[in-house]
């Protein structure tokens, strides 16, 4: 793997990638006697689409949970925007500008699509409670601004037609999209996607890939994602981390990873024909 310059690099398709947004240093995560992650280090660059791949049980989701604060690693350091992150609760991580989606969709089933996406703006509502209760003054101005952001996201992800529908009634593919919308509404600095395409048909996968690329392109959002579908990963991402049994076995551009012997043995080497 090539050493990357600290200032950033230029991708094959000519996009400029910036410096480090997030750096994981020697992360080790244990559950009792089971090591889920062993001494893994990698970084995520500003504006990048970074993928984490690996066979089942490799520790990918655990890694994402460490980044988003749901798990606390026993060893190692997490650096975000040039500063070491102290141990944080998940909601504090979210307030720092890291939004995420979940492997098994975690939406507010009882609320409409619009309300769900609006919850992504909770941290941008600062008016006092009385002002909010009567929707006047600061609360009104904030609400208008927040609505603008939310409508933009809804427009962008093409879910206008279902904005008033209760989420519980939506099909799986659309739920995934609503979850993405909620994460985007927070205008995150880093967007974490846990298997955004799991369980989708080819058409839905193509849609989702397009949205991910567009989000990155349009808003400049840095994205880290976990995905099983190798074709999708290789097409989407700028750089790929490969994990197996909790260890990092490869890191680099899709081409580099594809030609890495360890990776081929562990993961790609399995013949599907």
């Amino acid at each position: 793997m090539n050493a990357l310059s600290p200032e950033g690099y230029v991708t094959a398709d000519g996009r400029k990638i910036g410096g480090q947004l997030m750096e994981m240093k020697n992360i080790t995560l244990r559950f009792g006697g089971v090591k889920a992650i062993t001494d893994i280090s990698f970084d995520i660059r500003e504006g990048e689409i970074r993928a984490i791949i690996g066979p089942n049980g490799a520790g990918k989701s655990s890694m994402l949970n460490v980044i988003s604060g749901f798990y606390v690693p026993q060893e190692g350091e997490v650096w975000f925007r040039g500063a070491r992150r102290p141990q944080m609760k998940p909601y504090e991580v979210a307030q720092q500008g890291i939004a995420r989606t979940f492997q098994n969709i975690a939406l507010f089933e009882g609320m409409s699509v619009l309300d769900n996406v609006m919850t992504g703006r909770l941290n941008n509502m600062n008016a006092n409670i009385f002002s909010q209760a009567i929707w006047k003054g600061r609360a009104e101005r904030e609400e208008v601004l927040n609505r603008e952001v939310v409508e933009k996201v809804i427009d962008f992800l093409e879910i206008q037609s279902i904005r008033k529908t209760p989420v519980a009634r939506l099909p799986y593919g659309l739920k995934k999209r609503v979850e993405l919308a909620r994460a985007l509404a927070a205008e995150p600095k880093l967007l974490l996607l846990d298997e955004p395409m799991a369980g989708m048909n080819v058409e839905e996968k193509e849609d989702m890939s397009r949205f991910i690329l567009d989000v990155n392109d349009e808003f400049g959002t840095t994205i880290a994602l976990i995905e099983h579908d190798m074709g999708v990963v290789m097409d989407l991402s700028d750089r790929v981390v490969v994990m197996d049994y909790g260890k990092k076995i490869g890191d680099g551009t899709p081409d580099e990873v594809r030609n890495n012997q360890d990776v081929i043995d562990a993961y790609l080497g399995v013949s599907h024909d």
Partner: protein
């Protein structure tokens, strides 16, 4: 108009008023159940505790005076001042918020992700603890709660109905105040949960913990808030019931009257708690009036439960509850 019909109207109105008081208690249950999925058995005791604290503060009672006197051999009971009702209510609310924090910090926080039945049992424990704690703090004697609410016969209604029907309706002023307070309370709660950031966050937590965390909602803060709101509702219920029938142990048993209300209205619906309360209130009064004499009276003790039982058979989720549909 026949006499029976006119009496029935009076009974109906009194039933509505009683229903409002049931609804006030049921509201507290619904709030906590909606926000955290916990059926809070302690809601009735919370109302009792709130009422005791309010009386204690108003009268300038020394908290834990029995304990202090027994330990140090002193003989203090009162500070010797009287606190105005409004101020005392604010102080009591402060105590209820403190209690909410303690409940979350010492109990609920440690039971995250446990089965609902475990949480339910924890609230039973809480109920008995608070009952004893309240007695220890303020003494177990029956207290009179008087914060200056109008009480007794409403003469205006009495006069008007007497002129219209030749029979004056007996409607208690306190019941009218209770109805107005309940209406205000529900309006405030609906505005709070629908329009404010905290209300949105509360609904989010109720729906999905993980998702709420991922959009930056602090679960602990929301839980303390929910218990505080429930404490506020308990305080309002405690004031109304306390003013009506004195502050005493039996106040905590009104929680049992809230159960059929909840079964009728649904555990998750604020309007359901109101309508359920009214139906139970009116139902039991009218039943007692028309059928009671044939059955030897005292039907009010069981009518609500039988009505709830019949409802359970035909509509288990209650009138307004969310229908549970699960994909198979």
């Amino acid at each position: 108009m026949s006499d029976t019909f006119i009496y029935a109207i009076e009974v109906f109105i009194n039933g509505l008023m009683a229903g409002v008081l049931y609804a006030l208690v049921a509201l507290g249950f619904v709030l906590i159940y909606k926000a955290s999925g916990i059926f809070n058995y302690a809601q009735g005791v919370m109302a009792l505790f709130a009422a005791m604290t309010l009386v204690g503060i108003m009268e300038g009672q020394v908290p834990f005076s029995h304990l202090i006197n027994a330990t140090f051999g002193t003989s203090i009971h009162h500070f010797g001042w009287h606190v105005p009702a409004v101020l005392a209510i604010i102080f009591t609310m402060g105590v209820m918020i403190l209690l909410a924090w303690a409940v979350n910090h010492f109990i609920m926080r440690h039971l995250v992700n446990q089965e609902p039945i475990i949480l339910f049992m924890a609230t039973i424990g809480l109920a008995y603890f608070m009952e004893g704690f309240g007695d220890l703090m303020w003494g177990a004697d029956i207290k009179k709660l008087d914060i200056g609410l109008p009480q007794g016969l409403n003469t205006w209604i009495d006069d008007t109905t007497y002129q219209a029907f030749g029979y004056g309706f007996f409607i208690d002023n306190l019941d009218i105040v209770a109805a107005i307070v309940a209406a205000l309370l529900v309006t405030v709660l609906v505005i709070f949960s629908q329009y404010t950031k905290q209300g949105r966050a509360m609904r989010a937590v109720a729906d999905d913990h993980q998702a709420a965390l991922s959009v930056g909602v602090s679960l602990n803060f929301i839980w303390v808030m929910v218990w505080s709101v429930a404490g506020f509702v308990a305080l309002v219920a405690g004031i109304m019931w306390g003013a009506k029938s004195g502050v005493q142990f039996s106040l905590s048993l009104i929680a049992l009257k809230a159960l059929p209300v909840l079964m009728l209205g649904g555990f998750t619906s604020i309007p359901g708690a109101i309508v359920g309360g009214l139906i139970i209130g009116v139902g039991e009064k009218l039943f007692e009036f028309f059928v009671g004499p044939m059955l030897g009276g005292a039907t009010e003790n069981w009518f609500a439960y039988v009505l709830a039982l019949i409802f359970l058979v035909f509509r288990p989720q209650g009138l307004f509850g969310e229908k549970i549909i699960e994909r198979v």
